[in-house]
């Protein structure tokens, strides 16, 4: 195994190159830019034989991927934040047309106020689109997940698009020792894209029909079922990947020291590494504490969550997004799956790091301490009350 110290964006663009997309279409937006710049260079140097469409908007980036994928091409795009929101209606369309487009989301906050730093508000907005949504913990996992994404999405049992969330700047612009697999190994793992249905004059089918009320619900039902059934494939591909490459970051979830734990921290993305470090230290002081990493946010790992958390004393969910006018999103979903399982532990909910505020080990420690001393329905971590005006209408 050869480790290289690579920037996250460079590592991901290298691995996308190895997945050999036929068509790449993207529009620049911070902090996604390094990924698409690297891919542009690879195409310019002839190292990647792909059509790179430099579109005039993210809406068109997703649309060009839709058209290309429907013509039988393997496709790739990357974006974040406002770009992802601009793509949104196309993303619904891509999943319903059963097109295995792969998208990297370099997670970033949503305007207003404009903010280029990391949170998960962008990706969370995709939760009802019918896309498979995977969250990477570190650069190595982001690398590995992209290979898996094509394999999962293009599986005949699935045929759905996959978005990989990697935290903007925290993973896209930092350097870590990573292993980028060899071309031969990726070729062996990832067969050529060979769809059953595509736009061709040899079999001139009609795609994108409209459906009346007597058929629409069934069409959405099928999509929901297929997405739920993709859990099997996500897990299978994670295991196959382990066999082929020797690395395993979890399947739908990763359980870290949860078996004997009384307390389990839950999160998604790069916060998981920090949680692991903090809990390692706490374990040394005889605290029975573990971490549940949500690796697949959609399909939502309901059974895995129940099986991991049902007998715990306390669940602490830390998330980087908010449903304005309600509160937590991930914690709510976790509570929702636990509620009917018959043994619902206490779930404390923390919203943290909106707009890129740092989450240090100290932050996590503070969260745990707070959760140990009181019931926390919803807490905004490190909220600076000193700068809040007396009256929000002034």
């Amino acid at each position: 195994m050869t480790l290289e110290v690579l920037e996250g964006s460079k590592a991901v663009s290298d691995v996308i190159g190895l997945c050999k997309p036929d068509v790449i279409s993207a529009y620049p937006i911070t902090p996604q830019t390094h990924i698409v710049e690297n891919l542009s260079e690879m195409v310019a140097d002839g190292k990647l034989k792909a059509e790179y469409i430099r579109v005039e908007s993210e809406h068109s980036a997703a649309s060009a991927c839709l058209g290309a994928s429907l013509t039988g091409a393997r496709t790739y795009t990357a974006t974040t934040s406002q770009g992802l929101l601009l793509m949104l209606e196309v993303l619904y369309n891509i999943s319903a047309l059963r097109l295995p487009v792969v998208l990297t989301c370099a997670n970033r906050a949503i305007s207003s106020p404009l903010n280029i730093w990391c949170d998960h508000q962008d990706a969370i907005t995709l939760r009802d689109t019918g896309w498979i949504q995977l969250f990477a913990e570190d650069i190595q996992e982001a690398v590995d997940m992209h290979i898996q994404a094509y394999k999962i999405g293009e599986d005949k049992r699935v045929m759905l698009p996959v978005v990989i969330s990697m935290d903007g700047f925290l993973l896209t612009h930092t350097f870590e020792p990573v292993e980028v697999p060899s071309e031969e190994d990726v070729d062996r793992f990832l067969p050529k894209y060979n769809p059953k249905y595509f736009l061709t004059t040899k079999n001139p089918m009609t795609f994108g029909s409209f459906a009346e009320p007597d058929k629409y619900m069934e069409a959405r039902y099928i999509l929901n079922e297929v997405l739920n059934q993709s859990k099997v494939v996500i897990a299978e591909v994670a295991r196959d990947f382990k066999d082929a490459f020797g690395r395993f970051g979890g399947d739908l979830v990763e359980e870290y020291n949860t078996k004997d734990a009384d307390i389990v921290l839950v999160g998604m993305g790069s916060i998981i590494s920090t949680m692991k470090e903090v809990t390692d230290e706490l374990r040394k002081r005889n605290n029975r504490i573990g971490v549940l990493k949500i690796r697949s946010f959609r399909p939502f790992p309901d059974k895995e969550i129940v099986s991991c958390l049902k007998d715990k004393k306390k669940v602490i969910v830390v998330e980087k997004a908010i449903s304005l006018g309600f509160g937590s999103i991930l914690a709510s979903e976790i509570k929702s799956v636990l509620y009917n399982s018959g043994a619902a532990p206490r779930v404390d909910s923390f919203i943290a790091a909106l707009g890129g505020r740092d989450i240090s080990k100290e932050t996590i420690n503070k969260i745990i301490e707070k959760s140990m001393t009181e019931k926390v329905d919803l807490e905004f971590v490190d909220l600076n009350r000193d700068i809040l005006p007396e009256d929000f209408s002034e």
Binding site: A50, S60, A62, S63, A64, T71, K202, P204, T206
Partner: protein, 292 residues
Amino acid sequence: MSDNILASGHTACAGCGEALGIKLILNAAGPNIIVANATGCSEIFSSRYPESAWGIPWVHSLFENTAAVASGIEAALKVLGRESEANVIAQGGDGGMADIGFGALSGMFERGHNILAITLDNEAYMNTGVQRSGLTPLGARTTTSPPGELSWGNITPKKDMPQIAVAHGVSYVATATVAYFKDLEKKIKKALTIKGPKYIQVLVPCPLGWQHDPSLTIRVSKLAVETCIYPLIEIENGKLTNVVKVTSKKPVEEYLKLQGRYKHLFGREGANEHLAKIQAIADENAKRYGLV
């Protein structure tokens, strides 16, 4: 006839100029095409699941992304070595192509994709019930540009899409209409021999929206040309290379009075001033393109 590429059984209104336009376009283009279609009447009347009127590979994605979807199709054909399999057509109504899909169309033009973009121009948002678009002509009544105490219908002239295409450096730009079906056929065939982006705007009367008898679709289409309201032109590499000459230019009233959408311009005090403005547009067209 059963060998039409647009099959019978579609649900366009009786006398639909757009259905006729698509029938003529497809027959001219032949079976070796892939069509990306915008949301709109043409999509709705042709693709009610599980029935399709299309005899060629066809995709509808959304309202505003047709030119971008077509860009992806074209790029995929290229990289997969299937370029010779099919010409790519991106088509939609005036709303889908010239308004909400304008950005995507502009991108498709400037990137130089080998795609024929066709606007089926019925001069308003017909599918949603005849609302004003950027291609609605001056004075026309739509449901969002109604005549009233203070209004004489649509207050703006038609956006000049062909010239906008020319400004993008699109090497072949043409206008056509269903009454001049041979001219339309010739332009489609010619466009498909040219590499790169092409733009054809086809005037397609809408009996429902224009409020004319369904049997008058061809008549109205013909009068649009004969009054110089809708000049039929070809612009190649920025140069005007051909126009359909108008042998005896008719006053615009002859075109307008067949259509309920201009009814308010007749028999109301002060109407003459507004008719004169429309006549001035026709006169300017005649001069600008040397139509007479």
